[in-house]
Symmetry: C2
Subunit: 433 residues, 2 copies
């Protein structure tokens, strides 16, 4: 494809006219497609249908004889703790198994740090506090921090994780209390932190004594291909540095079994876990242990989970490849877009010409395709260059995805041509739009 930057004004105008005709055809189709959220498709959910068999709960007791229907076992049933221990490569004693949402665990942990502190003065009682946010990142992380009044500092993502030199400089500021991230198959880029990144995070010696990294290991077994992106165990790395207390890890089965009815876990150093459990004991008598038992008996062990995840991968691979093929075919070589090529996770990150993301989102929406709102991948919803789009290819069937991608790449090209026209002739801005 010809580089868009090399077009003459005339060529650009002609191409724009042609693309707008194509766009008008799309508008006539009455599409109603959604690529906005990382939702599994119905066929993925069907993979766990047998998780709902009543036979899995007969008898409804743990291996230690505890009746899972009744109150108690705040820390989770032993079987489920073992299952997470295998997944996270941690001792079961460092894990609490909880309800359906790891987001809720992160919110609760951070909100409780605001009220009661993280081994220190309550964060809410301290002057302005800050968190580091590798960007682009997960919008719901940013929403929690913004809601709690924690100032967010964007840290650019590099190939191997956040810009660690920048992180190391920022943590000299005592008001920087932590960092929140998805270290494997990051949201939205699908990048996995390298061993060096993990070790440098473990080796941080921040000015703040109550520094906490929220290690949201949401996609730990969510590979698209046989080979996984290896991620170093953060607690192993931290133990070597004496910084285990800096890390709070969460994960869940939301994208292993059911988003609405999975189980979640929080893992931490013995000292942190004791504090978390003491706070949780005030909050609830216990989580849904029947669902924990169901999950254990359905998956049994890490092997059972890996096998199950291969079935997810078989469904998801063609969807990711559909998007990537469309991007390559429609945008490759045009010099107006670059994108990630993740080997796992739930998203593809698409960077387009600066100043074009919002316009592209609007064009897509007006033709019936909903993207994650442009800007959402940045703190406060503000993408400083207005260039990043998160593509969530998992929910629509492949046929719909093809349509949605055709429209998306069309809108990217239209927005780019409009922008290039503006840049060349500012006066032409009004006409172009």
């Amino acid at each position: 494809m010809q580089e868009y930057g090399s077009f003459s004004a005339q060529e650009r105008a002609a191409l724009l006219e042609q693309l707008r005709e194509e766009y008008a055809v799309f508008q006539g189709l009455g599409l109603k497609l959604d690529m906005s959220r990382g939702k599994p498709g119905a066929d993925q959910l069907d993979l766990s249908a047998a998780l709902l068999d009543a036979a899995l709960l007969d008898p409804p007791k743990t291996e230690t004889g505890f009746d899972c229907r009744n109150y108690g076992l705040l820390d989770g049933i032993p079987e489920a703790k073992r299952l997470f221990a295998a997944l996270l490569d941690l001792p079961a004693e460092q894990i609490l198994v909880c309800g359906n949402s790891s987001l809720n665990l992160m919110y609760d942990y951070l909100a409780q740090c605001m009220l009661f502190g993280a081994d220190g003065e309550p964060w809410a009682a301290q002057k302005k506090i800050k968190f580091l946010c590798p960007t682009p990142g997960y919008d719901r992380h940013f929403s929690i921090l913004e809601h709690l009044g924690i100032e967010m500092i964007a840290v650019p993502m590099r190939e191997n994780g956040p810009d660690m030199a920048f992180v190391e400089q920022l943590v000299r500021d005592e008001s920087v209390k932590g960092l929140i991230c998805v270290p494997k198959y990051s949201n939205p880029e699908g990048k996995t932190y390298s061993d060096e990144t993990v070790c440098r995070l473990a080796a941080l010696h921040p000015a703040a004594k109550d520094f906490r990294v929220i290690w949201d290991n949401a996609y730990l077994v969510h590979d698209l291909y046989d080979a996984t992106d290896p991620l170093l165990n953060i607690f192993t790395a931290a133990r070597d540095c004496g910084t285990e207390d800096h890390f709070i890890e969460v994960t869940s089965f939301s994208k292993i079994s059911f988003p609405s009815a999975g189980i979640s876990a929080i893992a931490a150093s013995p000292a942190n876990l004791a504090a978390i459990q003491a706070r949780m004991a005030i909050q609830t008598i216990g989580h849904d242990k029947l669902n924990q038992l169901r999950h254990f008996r359905f998956f049994r062990d890490a092997r059972g989970i890996y096998d199950h995840m291969q079935k997810h991968a078989a469904i998801l691979r063609p969807k990711f490849e559909t998007v990537l093929a469309a991007l390559e075919q429609d945008l490759g070589g045009a010099g107006i877009a670059s994108w990630t090529n993740p080997r796992g996770g739930y998203f593809i990150s698409l960077d387009i010409l600066g100043g074009c993301a919002k316009r592209t989102g609007q064009l897509c929406k007006e033709a019936g395709v909903v993207l994650t709102p442009p800007g959402a991948t940045y703190p406060y919803g503000r993408d400083p260059e207005d260039k990043n789009l998160r593509i969530a290819p998992t929910f629509p069937p492949v046929a719909e995805l093809e349509q949605a991608c055709a429209l998306l790449t069309l809108c990217v090209r239209i927005a780019a041509l409009e922008k290039l026209g503006e840049q060349e002739s500012p006066a032409g801005k009004r006409e172009q739009r």
Copy 2:
């Protein structure tokens, strides 16, 4: 039975010696019984066995076609909202259906008031704030308030609810931000607030503009007999007074289906509910909707719940009556104890001779019967008269309950005789014990 107060010192000593011999026999039995918590028995849990049938989730979609396995529907599925609406006699729009724990909903609401306020300045940012606690009351309520640093003011319970004249006086203090209570079959007394009490609570015009009553309607359908104790709808009463914003109601299925795997709900005025939902949207993407669907399809409507609760009552009635019969037989007329005779709920409240509750708890424990820790029914675990014991008769089978009650009443008598001896002859204190 002869009044204990009328004994001569000699008679008392003789009786005490006899009772201590009986106690020694109990100690030899090696009992291990638990009357400490309001846990349903296994036979009660069996009543909901069919709730776990996979067929109930086929198809796993709401009546509006929403896939309950996937993300979304933060406010709960429409069917479950309707079910709670019927139970609470409120519009479904005023209800959010949530996870397994109404305790968690109360904690979250209060913690969020600390951080963000209840329609005003964050409570944590205000000077010392206070809550009114009808006592005896529910220990887990008190734990939440204590944990959040909210000062608790005990308000004595009368026959028809808290001492309202005292409440009306206390709310003139601007630092009094609310009240927390179980208005029906109260924990531990099993009392239900009269219409007058409900109307006076609704009519409160507190000095605090951000005053909130946590209306923990935990036992709303938990009758032991055919006739229920009627409880006025707090929101109806409040509407007449223009005080709907003062009330936050919660309830759950913990003692209808399964303590560990029920569903819960929070109900509030439209303004409060919007604020609660906006905060919850930061905290989680949604609760377990499969469990909501399961519950709806098993119970269908209020009638289905009432019928189910009659089966619980058939199991619980003999247990309550066993305890009451033992109290009457062993303590009636002795002038050293009085107790409530609840028509629903999960507890019986036993008041014994002042200064004897801790000693009785200790004697019971040393012979293998665990009671709720004496004091737990009061803020900060401090029963000023050391006289209240909470009896939870639901978990042990009747035969065990008979044993436990025989021991309990024996310990009450021993503690009373010891105390009476001390009072008459302070010097004899050491000998008596």
